[in-house]
Structures are given as C-alpha cells and as structure tokens.
C-alpha cells in the first residue's frame, strides 16, 4: 500500500463520511493510516494466510447448557453431560456433534468479565477492552483484517454474517479506519449494492469506468491527495468485489453440504463462512441469535443449540479435513454467560462472573481445558481470565505479537490491552 501525505493531515474525516454512506462504494476505501510498527509481521502472516472464524452467541449463551455442565446440582438444570472425543472432557448433551470435534477444540471455563450489560459485554469481548469515553477501540475483526489481509486480497477482510436482513458497513474499526470495518452480510446475502443496475448495459458501464479512470488519471497528475486515492480505490475494489460476487453464493456449494450443515439460517451461514475462509478472507464472524433466555432457558437452548451444534460441528470437521485448521483460529464467544441460579420462569439471567469460551484451531492446544469453576458453577476456583487475556490469546494464536502497537497519526496504539496478557497454557 502506498502511503500518501494528506492535504488535511488526516483522512479519518473523509473515511468517516464514506462509511456513513454505507454499501459497497463506501467499503473498499484504503485507510491511509499507519501500519503495524513491525510490518514484517504483516507480510509474514499474509503469506501464511492465517484466518479467524468467530461464532458470536448473541444474548449470552448458558455455559451450563454448553461448555461447563453441572448435572445433578441445584444449578445444573435438566440437561445431562455427555462424553466427547477427548477422554475426561464432558459438555452439555445438547452438543452431541460438537462433542465429536472436541479434539480440535479447547475450553476456557474460567472467564470473569465483570460486566452483565449486553452492549458493554459485547464491546469488551469484541475489543478486549472496557469501553471508555476517551477512546474507541477496534474490534478483533478489524485488527485481524489489518494484520492478516494479503496485499492481493480484493475482497473485504472483515465480514460479519448476521441473522435477519440488512447489510452495509459496521462501525467497528475505530482508529484503524473504515477499510477494516466489517462488511455485514444480512442473513448471509451478498454485500448490498454489489450488482450492476439492470438499467445500465454492460457496455455502457464499461465505457463510463474507462472514462472515470481517464479523468482520474489526469486529475492525479497534479492534484493527488489521500482523498482522491481513497475514492479511486473505493471504485476499483468495489468493481473487484462485484466480479467476485460468487464468493458469497452458497448455491455454488454441493447440495449434500447444504443438507449436512442444516437447512436453517445458522447452517447456511456456517457454510458461507467456510466458503469465505476458503477464499482467503481473514476474518469471518457468524452470529447466532438468541440466547438471552430469562424465561424458559432450557426449551430455548434446546432450540438454539440444536441449530448451533449441527452447523458448527460441520464447520470444524470440514476445516480439519481440508487442512485449514492449522491456519484458522476458531472462537465461540458471547457477551457473557448465564446465571447458575434458575429463576421462577425456568430462566437464567445475565452472568459474567464465571462463564466459558470455546477456542480451537490455529495456535491453540487442542483438547485442552483451561480454568475451573466450583461444583455448582457459581465461582471460578482456578485460572480466572477475562476479555483482555482472551484478546491477547487470539492474537498470539495467530502468530501476532499482541504487545505490538499500531501507529496512527503519530500515536502508538497497542493492539491489545497492555495491562493484560495471553493465556500461555492454551498456546502451542
């Protein structure tokens, strides 16, 4: 990427405006911001093609119905624990297919984030830091997109597949700039506005692009700025994405795979995630809704985890079978867990004091369990960690130095909370 001296001293304002416009045209802007202070990392990782898949269990997954079951206790609920492919590790009975992939995964059963609010919990799990009025921090996807995207990547490096409709760009890259903001695929649909309008013929479209390039070229001879570069690259990358639109089409995947992953939204989204990862996109997040089960927690987890188990287990198995597991970090997180206490509506409430996250793949000791809760899951008794430790661990698992900094406008901004550190026991 060519660094351009900005006329106004910063391209941030221009990027913010482009981001506001939404859609593809705003999405492919090159940030013009500082690189990693150790650019060698970026080059090396691009070559290695490290990738990340995050499954975000929206609303707060119950650790007691998933990764840390406590059957037979007052807090355990009605579901039982089952054995897994790793001797000695048991998980909830609602995850039978995932249990067979446990040798590719690892569990952190000692997460305490001290935050029971949905939006604050989501923020700290996504950024590895607590929200403050002073600074906005980039999400893991933006950091990975910046650090892991090869120079040759013409597709967005940070994709979120969300339930329901919608699309456009996320506001999640903070000081890294809009180039690294997420592109949202609402309900797994391709990026918005990524087809040529029907009323513009292919020949006419090509002619106007040729004309645009010619005018841009003449203009840049004497009046080139970061902003003009950004506009130019926006158009070129948007065109490139339009030509690669098939990447987002799971109809191109074999029908048997669509059946295996499940004929439901989450199954389709996991299959799309596999397709995106295979096409070199460094960060893909799939969200599964919804786990905010203050009422009838057990019936709703029965519904939701049935979908999750099928799609997620297929994805893990396929990444392993296709030789992608060594280069792909797997993370299953939520904004917090759910209370051990079962309320009067058969529900569980918000609980951040002792919950679990599932990791796997690249850089992670597979088949490991880190940390421990007490008999009824109300307290952590060993290995307490938080969002900061997890964020460092993700970066280190990807081969990044989590103590490195981004240089933005002359400021050194640490990639991860400098007061925290990775969970070394989980790293290979």
């Amino acid at each position: 990427m060519m660094k351009t001296r900005n006329v106004c001293g910063s391209s941030d304002h221009a990027m913010a405006r482009r981001q506001f416009l939404g859609g593809v045209a705003s999405g492919m802007v090159v940030g013009g911001l500082g690189l990693l202070t150790r650019p060698a990392f970026s080059a090396q990782l691009s070559k290695d093609q490290k990738r990340v898949i995050v499954v975000n269990m929206l609303g707060g997954l119950s650790q007691l119905e998933s990764w840390d079951p406590k059957p037979g206790t007052a807090t355990g609920g009605p579901f039982r624990a089952i054995s897994t492919s790793v001797p000695g590790i048991h998980i909830g009975e609602l995850l039978p297919q995932t249990a067979q992939q446990m040798h590719h995964l690892a569990l952190v059963r000692a997460v305490n984030t001290h935050e029971d609010d949905h939006s604050k919990g989501s923020y700290l799990m996504a950024t590895g830091r607590r929200q403050t009025p002073a600074t906005d921090y980039p999400e893991l996807g933006a950091v990975c997109s910046k650090a892991l995207s090869p120079e040759s990547l013409s597709l967005p490096g940070h994709i979120k597949i969300t339930p329901g409709g919608g699309g456009g760009r996320g506001n999640d890259s903070a000081y890294l700039g809009p180039k690294f903001a997420s592109v949202r695929l609402g309900n797994g649909n391709p990026p918005q506005n990524s087809t040529r309008p029907n009323d513009i013929a292919a020949a006419a479209d090509e002619a106007r692009q040729v004309f645009r390039r010619q005018v841009n070229s003449q203009f840049s001879l004497h009046r080139r700025t970061a902003m003009t570069d950004a506009y130019t690259q926006t158009y070129e990358q948007a065109l490139s994405l339009m030509e690669s639109r098939d990447v987002f089409d799971i109809a191109k995947e074999p029908e048997k795979d669509r059946d295996r992953y499940g004929q439901h939204d989450f199954g389709r989204h996991c299959l799309l995630a596999r397709r995106l990862l295979e096409n070199g996109i460094p960060f893909v997040q799939v969200a599964h809704s919804n786990y905010d089960t203050h009422s009838e927690n057990f019936d709703f987890h029965l519904e939701q985890l049935g979908e999750f188990d099928q799609g997620f287990a297929c994805l893990v198995a396929d990444l392993a079978e296709r030789g992608m597991l060594d280069s792909t970090l797997i993370v299953v997180l939520s904004e917090f867990g759910r209370s051990p206490h079962i309320n009067q509506y058969y529900g569980r409430d918000h609980w951040s004091a002792a919950w679990s996250v599932c990791l796997g793949g690249a850089g992670i000791h597979r088949g490991a369990v880190y940390g421990k809760t007490n008999e009824d899951g109300t307290k952590i008794v060993d290995g307490q960690v938080d969002h900061g430790n997890l964020f460092h661990t993700y970066l280190r698992a990807l081969g990044l130095d989590s103590t490195a900094s981004f240089e933005v406008g002359g400021r050194q901004l640490p990639m991860a909370d400098p007061m925290s550190s990775p969970i070394k026991e989980l790293l290979t």
């Binding site: 609303g59 059957p71 037979g72 007052a74 609920g77 009605p78 579901f79 039982r80 009975e93 339930p163 329901g164 939204d265 599964h288 809704s289 919804n290 905010d292 089960t293 203050h294 009422s295 009838e296 019936d299 709703f300 029965l302 519904e303 939701q304 079962i342 009067q344 509506y345 529900g347």
Partner: protein
C-alpha cells in the same frame, strides 16, 4: 395437615382458600393427586419425586430419575405411579410402598420424556418427547406398542379421551393430532396454533400446547398455553385456553384472563362443567375459573407464589399446586369450615 372438606360440602370457587401449605427443599415442577385420594405426588428440580401423605403432610422421596422428573400419572386403581423426565425415562413405582423403589424403568425417548398419560382402562401409557415422538407402552410389561410419528417439533402434552378410544398429542407449534389406539394410526388434527408464537427477531419458537383436558361427558376439549407472546425471552405473554367442540373440532370459546401475564400451565374440567386453569408468570400467580359461555374468568384466586402445575382431587373439592418457592399448596374449593 390438610383440611378435608365434609362430604356434604358444596363446591364454590368463589370461596376458595388455601387449606394446606407444605414446604420442600427444592423448587417444585409438577403435582398430581393419586386416584384414591391418599397422596399428592410432586416432582422437583433436585431430580426427585415426592409423595405427600394427605393426612399428615409427611413427604417421602422417590429416587430413580437422573434428571428433572416432568410429569406424573397413575393406574386407574391408583396402585402404580408413573413418572417421566428429562432423562428420557419412564419409571413405574408402587404408589403406597413404605419406601418406593422403581418397579420398572424404560428409556422411553431420546432427550426429554416431557409428558405422559394413562389410558382409561389402565392398559396403555402414552409418552411424548423432545425427539418428536409419541409412544404407547403396555402398562403390564413395559413393551412398546406403537411409535407415532407426525410431529415435527417437541411433543408437549398427551391425553387419552375418556370414551372415544383415542389419544391426543399436542406440540410446540400448536398442532394436536388424534391417534387410534388399536393400530396407532393418525385420525385427525385440531388446530391450536393460537397457542404458538414464532418470534423471528429472537429466532425463537414459543408457546405450544402445554396442557389438554376433556370434559367428563367427552363433548368439550380444551388446550392451554400462551398467546400475545411479545417477548418470549422475558416471560411476556398472556394465558389462553381454547375450548373446542369435540365432534366438529370448532373453537367455541377462547378463554383469557385480563391483565394477567404468564403461561397457562394446566387446565382441568371440573365435574360441574366449569374449566379451571393455573397461570404462573411475570404477572400472575392465579387459579382461574371459566364458564363455557364466557371469554373471561368468572373468578380468580391468588395462590401466594408463582405456580408451575396444578391438579384436581378425585372428589373435585381440592386443588393442589406446585410452586417455584418450594411449597406445595392445597386450595379447597369451598367455604372454610366454621
């Protein structure tokens, strides 16, 4: 101990009052009177079944389930008790034994066996599960008689018709299927989808046929559960009982309870013809009484704490209710003895 109403006492819901209140050490889930009127059985979140002696309130534990027991049934003579639970098991118990041990345990369903019913002649036991199956079992030897496959979602309730030689099964999506007992064939379906909510924003299916009842004359059929579930995850819903005419399958009444929030956990027909329901939720802890020709309840009784189940005693004079606050309460449907 529980107050026993005089034989000549007149049933009067408006005079309902709590006549016994017994505490346990775990939140209760369900409760049933035994057909002889000697005991109330309840289930709890500690994986145990409790037998409460009606005469003195003494509780005896029945241990055998490996997870939460959900439902209770009895042979017509009351000598055998059946329970099913989240461990997928159907367990037979000797009702009156000093220390009841399982007579038989059947792995009935993959996942929860969440409902059961016993046929009027006592020869068949029906169970329904999260595996979307309805199963008929021989009560004499525990053999599987029929496996009924039509539901596409978990089965929430099962009920034998008292005279029509058929079984009803209700599911999460408000489908009620009627099955013949001889061949296990599907016969027809009732539409109770008003009890079902698909909340696309929360990606949740909610509601279902939580309870079913048939009047003593077999002419009225009721299904209970929830409607107007604007926020299922937050327990924001309203109670609803649908009353069908048995032969025509038409909904002839939709019973509601104005200003109450929460699911209807059980409905039963009183021998005098009115319908009784119990509602426990974010804004309700009430027993409700409905007449056939009225949409709203003609009386509601506050049972102190959030209930999860209810049963009517064989005489039609008392209601037992199982509560989250670990209490089993008995409500007498008559004026207090003076």
């Amino acid at each position: 101990m529980s107050e026993s109403p005089p034989a000549a006492a007149k049933v009067d819901p408006v005079a309902a009052h709590i006549s016994a209140d017994w505490q346990y050490d775990s939140p209760l889930i369900s409760c049933r009177f035994d057909p002889q009127g000697r005991f109330i059985f309840s289930t709890a979140e500690n994986n145990r079944v409790q037998r409460w002696n009606l005469a003195d309130g003494k509780a005896t534990a029945l241990e055998g389930h490996e997870s939460w027991p959900w439902t209770i049934g009895f042979s017509p003579d009351g000598e055998t008790t059946y329970t099913s639970g989240a461990d997928g098991r159907l367990i037979f118990w000797p009702t009156a034994a000093d220390a009841p041990k399982p007579l038989r345990a059947i792995d009935a369903h993959h996942g929860w066996a969440r409902c059961l019913a016993v046929s009027p002649d006592g020869k068949l036991i029906a169970t329904g599960g999260n595996d979307r199956r309805v199963k008929l079992w021989n009560a004499a030897d525990g053999a599987l008689v029929h496996e009924l496959v039509k539901h596409e979602v978990p089965v929430y309730s099962v009920l034998f018709h008292p005279a029509a030689n058929c079984l009803l099964s209700g599911d999460l999506r408000g489908n009620v299927h009627q099955w013949g007992l001889e061949k296990g064939e599907w016969q027809r379906s009732f539409d109770a989808k008003k009890l079902y909510t698909e909340n696309k924003g929360q990606n949740a299916e909610y509601g279902g046929v939580r309870t079913m009842a048939i009047s003593a004359d077999g002419k009225s059929f009721a299904c209970g559960g929830t409607f107007n579930a604007s926020n299922p995850f937050g327990a924001v819903c309203e109670p609803l009982a649908l009353r069908f005419e048995w032969e025509s399958q038409k909904i002839v009444q939709s019973h509601i309870a104005k200003d109450l929030k929460g699911p209807l956990w059980r409905v039963v027909f009183h021998p005098d013809g009115f319908l009784i329901g119990i509602c426990g939720g974010s804004g309700a802890k009430h027993i409700l009484f409905w007449k056939a020709d009225q949409e709203g309840d003609f009386h509601r009784f506050d049972v102190v704490a959030l209930p999860r189940d209810m049963d009517l005693d064989p005489r039609g004079m008392r209601l037992a209710s199982a509560h989250y606050d670990r209490h089993l309460r008995i409500t007498t449907l008559a004026a207090k003895a003076t």
